[in-house]
Symmetry: C2
Subunit: 762 residues, 2 copies
């Protein structure tokens, strides 16, 4: 089955999307899939290179600034552009640039090699004056050497003796992309980077930049050479970039290799020294060897992560494409996470949202728990900020995680759909629990997990209250659905808070019984009183979960069902997404959902409600959900499968699977929709295969869409590696490594022994 994503288009609109689709990254840095030679100057290209979490601080402007509105936000910065390589053919005045928009394209293919972790462009090109050649561009960002962006170009002459000039550049004069009219993209285009160093050193270009306020530094050290020994080199500086010009005559296959090493001051002090060291260390490795290391890394990744689908090539392509980009975007250093657009673009300012915990972590937790742990580690690293934010928001105790952030401080400037989404704290707590259920890693619970859960549980006691009727209620928050804001008793928030409170107690009990000494020290560190734990329990027990008895569904909040239903028939297609065409007050006034809210809650905490309520809720909310958020379709797919709507599940899955590949939201060019990519994996694994992690073990409820012959995927569970396959007549679990384990299939318990295969036939 295919390991390639291919494109033959030279159409500008497509190439703009491919800047995101073909990006290269390794969790530390991301280089957008821009063309080495650039696009025509009138195109809206977003030429970008990013380091995860590398940001400046910008002031937030408010018409009216109220108490505890964040004063600043972080903003992921586009850093030094080292992608530039121009290839010119011909002499002097007759020189022509090899490009997709000049001369004659005889053949052209662009390939993303999902197995190898690299991208390629194959171009057969003839200049207007008749020089004809093949140019093969390969590039990757190395998983082995996180600082390395590798470009490797093979030039093969077809006509005779072609005069060639290469112009390679490293450019520090870059800005972020701005669009004033789209609230989903940054709106101002200030210059936030200053060039502090521009050196020609040791046959390499060195450019160092510094941000204006945060004073973070980033640097690139870049070398370029061709295999033709007779080539001549020339180096030029201007105030912001360094160019290397190489002239030679192309008469046989010639290799052009450019290696750029990028680092930043969040990781290293002396960037010049560090990059030279890394460069020297890597110098002994040829391109082939580096590409092999990349292949090895990818092979190991796919061993744990690959998902195969029989019967749908487009979908097979999509699912691997998604998994690959998730890997490319995931911070692995415990200091960074996965931004809304990953490292594929700068949309949403490179901020981390709840997306990571609810849509992305499940895949990593179940296939690459070591990496998942790093992402959880990041949330622990910003716990103090969350504590401070809780104080700012008037809470005496607990931690309130920011709606969007890089360094931990709240960066959302529109609180009704930002800070008001208190559920993020419960979402983060939930992800720690899921990690624990998948790994049984009690050490991690002891060192980080329990503290996060206790602090977030404390928040719920602060924000909620016991009503006179005995119910514990949580007022004035916003749930996941951003088309309804500032409500009381959002079902999602309340049920997740309950889970948070319950698991805080469980984590405490585990530690108490496994390591009483550690418990004493943690208790004293957190000044935790036994009465607080009792209050956690009382609040959880009394948690109010709104339900409408007539409709037999959970109400999204206290009053949601009393509002008028949005006039869907009277809304023209071009008025979607609604948030770009209606004032939020208008949208909030109606029963209309941007995305799954109650339905998502039923997925995350399914044992809180009986089947009929889950089903009726799905029926009800589906009718009023616009899916204007890319976080929506995958949830309706998973839960469609859960309640037996296999056709619906499949249709929503299709929406979700190729959302970026088919540019369904129209903004793929701004970056990939990471959460949706994670959601696609979830739609297969938790949707069609029905996987749930519960305290009593793994649960499956496998089903097969009739369009497929079968599907298979891998999961890791308590140190084991399992391969799960579903076919028309059978469901198979192979225990590839690890010891015997129990699992539940359609609620029936099975045991699978070491190195064996369990086959359930229908």
């Amino acid at each position: 089955m295919s390991w390639k994503v291919e494109s033959k288009s030279t159409d500008i609109a497509t190439l703009l999307q491919e800047e995101s689709l073909f990006f290269n990254g390794n969790g530390y840095m991301g280089i957008r899939g821009n063309l080495e030679e650039g696009l025509p100057s009138d195109t809206n290209t977003i030429r970008g290179s990013y380091i995860n979490g590398f940001h400046d601080i910008v002031e937030i402007s408010y018409g009216e600034k109220l108490y505890a509105f964040p004063e600043n936000q972080q903003k992921l910065l586009n850093i030094i552009d080292a992608q530039g390589i121009e290839i010119w053919v011909g002499e002097d005045k007759h020189r022509e640039k090899v490009s997709l928009h000049s001369g004659k394209i005889i053949d052209y293919t662009r390939i993303l090699h999902l197995d190898k972790g690299l991208t390629e462009r194959r171009l057969h090109w003839r200049s207007n004056s008749g020089h004809e050649l093949n140019v093969n561009f390969k590039r990757f960002v190395s998983f082995h050497t996180k600082e390395l962006f590798q470009q490797y170009i093979t030039l093969t002459p077809i006509s005779e003796d072609i005069p060639v000039r290469i112009v390679s550049s490293v450019n520090g004069d870059v800005k972020n992309f701005a669009d004033k009219d789209d609230p989903r993209v940054a709106s101002d285009d200030e210059q936030l980077l200053a060039i502090t160093n521009l050196l020609w050193i040791d046959e390499s270009s060195f450019v160092e930049v510094e941000t204006t306020i945060s004073k973070l530094r980033a640097a690139a050290l870049s070398t370029v050479s061709v295999s033709d020994k007779s080539a001549s080199y020339r180096y030029e500086f201007n105030h912001s970039s360094i160019q290397t010009t190489i002239d030679f005559t192309l008469s046989r296959e010639t290799i052009l290799e450019k290696r750029t090493f990028i680092a930043d001051s969040r990781r290293y002090q002396d960037l010049q020294y560090t990059l030279q060291l890394i460069k020297d260390k890597t110098a002994s490795l040829s391109f082939k060897e580096l590409a092999n290391l990349q292949l090895e890394y990818m092979t190991s990744f796919w061993k744990n992560t690959d998902v195969t689908i029989t019967g749908g090539d487009k979908i097979q392509e999509a699912i691997r494409f998604n998994l690959f980009h998730l890997l490319q975007s995931a911070g692995q250093d415990g200091k960074t996470s996965i931004a809304a657009k990953g490292l594929s673009g700068e949309g949403y300012e490179g901020h981390y949202f709840w997306d990571t915990e609810i849509y992305l972590l499940p895949m990593f937790t179940m296939t690459n728990p070591e990496l998942a742990k790093k992402l959880l580690h990041y949330r622990y690293s910003i716990l103090d900020s969350a504590r401070e934010r809780a104080r700012e928001m008037g809470h005496k105790n607990g931690a309130l995680y920011p709606w969007r952030t890089i360094t931990g401080t709240e960066c959302s400037s529109y609180y009704p759909a930002g800070t008001a989404q208190y559920h993020i704290s419960a979402d983060i707590a939930y992800s720690y629990v899921q990690y624990f259920l998948a790994t049984n890693d009690l050490d991690f619970v002891k060192v980080m997990g329990a503290e996060v859960l206790i602090e977030t549980a404390r928040l719920w006691l602060e924000v909620g209250h016991f009503h006179q009727n005995g119910e514990f209620r949580i007022d004035t928050v916003t749930g996941p659905d951003e088309y309804t804001a500032i409500v009381n008793n959002n079902y999602y928030t309340n049920v997740m808070a309950k889970y948070n409170l319950q698991w805080a107690i469980k984590f405490v009990q585990f530690i108490q019984s496994e390591d009483p000494l550690h418990w004493q020290s943690l208790k004293s560190k957190l000044s935790l009183k036994d009465s607080e734990l009792e209050a956690f329990q009382s609040a959880a027990d009394a948690m109010y979960l709104p339900i409408d008895k007539t409709l037999n569904i959970n109400s999204q909040d206290d009053t949601f069902l009393q509002k008028e239903i949005w006039d869907f028939e009277g809304t023209p297609k071009e008025h979607y997404p609604l948030l770009l065409h209606y004032h939020p007050l208008t949208i909030y006034r109606y029963q209309v959902c941007k995305q799954a809210d109650t339905v998502l809650a039923h997925f995350l905490v399914e044992d809180e409600q009986p089947e009929d309520i889950i089903k009726e809720s799905y029926n009800y909310y589906e009718k009023i959900t616009t899916h204007d958020s890319s976080l929506s379709s995958c949830v309706f797919s998973m839960m469609g499968a859960r309640i037996g709507y296999l056709e619906k599940a499949y249709d929503y899955f299709l929406e979700s699977a190729r959302l970026d590949l088919d540019n369904r939201q129209g903004n793929t060019k701004d970056g990939l929709h990471m959460a949706n990519m994670g959601g696609t994996w979830m739609a297969i694994v938790t949707g069609f295969a029905g996987l749930r992690l519960k305290e009593n073990g793994l649960h499956f409820r496998p089903q097969l869409p009739e369009q497929w012959e079968g599907y298979a995927f891998h999961i890791r569970y308590h140190g084991r590696l399992l391969k799960i396959s579903s076919k028309m007549d059978s469901f198979t679990v192979e225990l590839l490594s690890g010891v015997q384990v129990d699992l539940h299939i359609w609620d029936k318990k099975h045991t699978i022994t070491a190195d064996s295969t369990l086959v359930i036939t229908n």
Copy 2:
């Protein structure tokens, strides 16, 4: 009884407050009570001169700008400063400036003459080198000649032959005051005025300025002279101001007179020509004559408006002070209204809010209906903007008035406490009805009133909906109480919308019966269908008015009473006003009110609820209201009186009456709290005297606080002038002019015949 407000303080903090308290205005322009000679340079003086509605347009910044968020707002501009007059005594290097902060103050009094409409400063002063003199500063802004700001200074020597130098200036280099940290004050200090003309012409200084975006122009033409014929004059320009220097020897009483004429391009085209014309026209009038015209105007005002209180000098002072400043601030040209700070300061950007209709119009409607009509005219003049805003907000029909504005477009940038306050449209409709009830001016209903009521009534059909249980409900709005936002079925909003709908129909019926032809033309102008009128009626009949049967009160909104009550005991005094110390989400989460909401609704539409609900509601909401808004205490006073809490009514009245005179909100220096001033009048007239305007006539429920011997006030009713007096043992109504009229006292009907007096003894 006193017609003076006096101050002897030279303390800086007090002088800063007096910049507001002693301002001069006439509805067209306002000159703050700055000292001619200025304050020491390190003080936070707000030196300001304003023309009602003279503004520039400034962009509103948003962290995230969503659909239909206003892009710009208007901002009242501080214009040319012509107040400057410095008096220097002594020769050359020994010159000393006469000021409150140098030399020796032997005696000093500042007086606001409420009867004469002018302010005065009497200063007995000696320089360090022994020159001693009396200086008397008089100033007013003329009601007779709206463009005139008159200064009149009498210098009387006490020591012999004092060398005097006068430096009078007209300065175009002015900015608005800015304070980054107070959301109630503007936060940036851009220069928005450019000087376009600086001329010395016809012995006068002429300065013309133009705004940056709106391109409005304002100009000042100023003359200054002394009565000493031997004085020498010198004129100096710099890039932004013109100075006149006058030298003479002060050996007998000498008059210094400065007349500044100010006009703007919203009223006149050629400002230089116009101002010269007005100056010439006024030239024949001496200061005495002009002051007499001012006195005449004031006398006529007080004849209709005066309120007397026997037994409370401080309160007598306050009530006249308030009435005077209301008059000084009220736009009388049909193009302007009354800003939140009147013309006394630039707080709230000079915007007009609902304050005018609910807190200020009652006084004008009942005492100066001609002026009230001009204020209603203003709202009619921006009806088209309100229609446009309704469309922007997604409504197919009707008019949505902006929360804050000058020219009619929405200027609120924080919609939860701005645009969401849909009640403003009902408030405006209400003020038209009240005007009609007071005047029986059906012509005005025909020409403007009906159109406003129909368009606002249409809005309620758009924003509300019929719930399946038959109720008409209005979701997702904010009521008057800004400590609760974006709620469903705010009692105030719903009951006011009902009134709006009912009166739209009544206005239609009046016109239909009085002038069927006019009705046809209006109907066709508004494309009004009969079915709409039926829908008005159905919605009004079915209007849902939330009630809590257990508490026997109206609920502020659907879910207000289910929230936790704010921890008042745990809130330190310095944490008030809450909005400066808590995030709005925190405040919104609790039962806590910034101001009267349901209680105000019970005042405005009292016949909707039985007495017991009104009383219990008062009891309930009083406990949870912080009165952080200056619009609050007066309502609790009026309604306290209404339900028999005379002591409470009196205490709240005291809070309200001297709010600015005693700087109770701590921000009097930014400008006076106009709404509260109107509220003080209401507390007496509608509170203690219990006046209500109903369809069946005037109603009174007179009561007398035990602290007073009596009170009296005037009202106009259907062309009549009445004087109402309340004493311990009697309630007296004198019909000063006009024909016989019925009125209800404690629900009992009485008739008063022409030129007679009705006395009810207790």
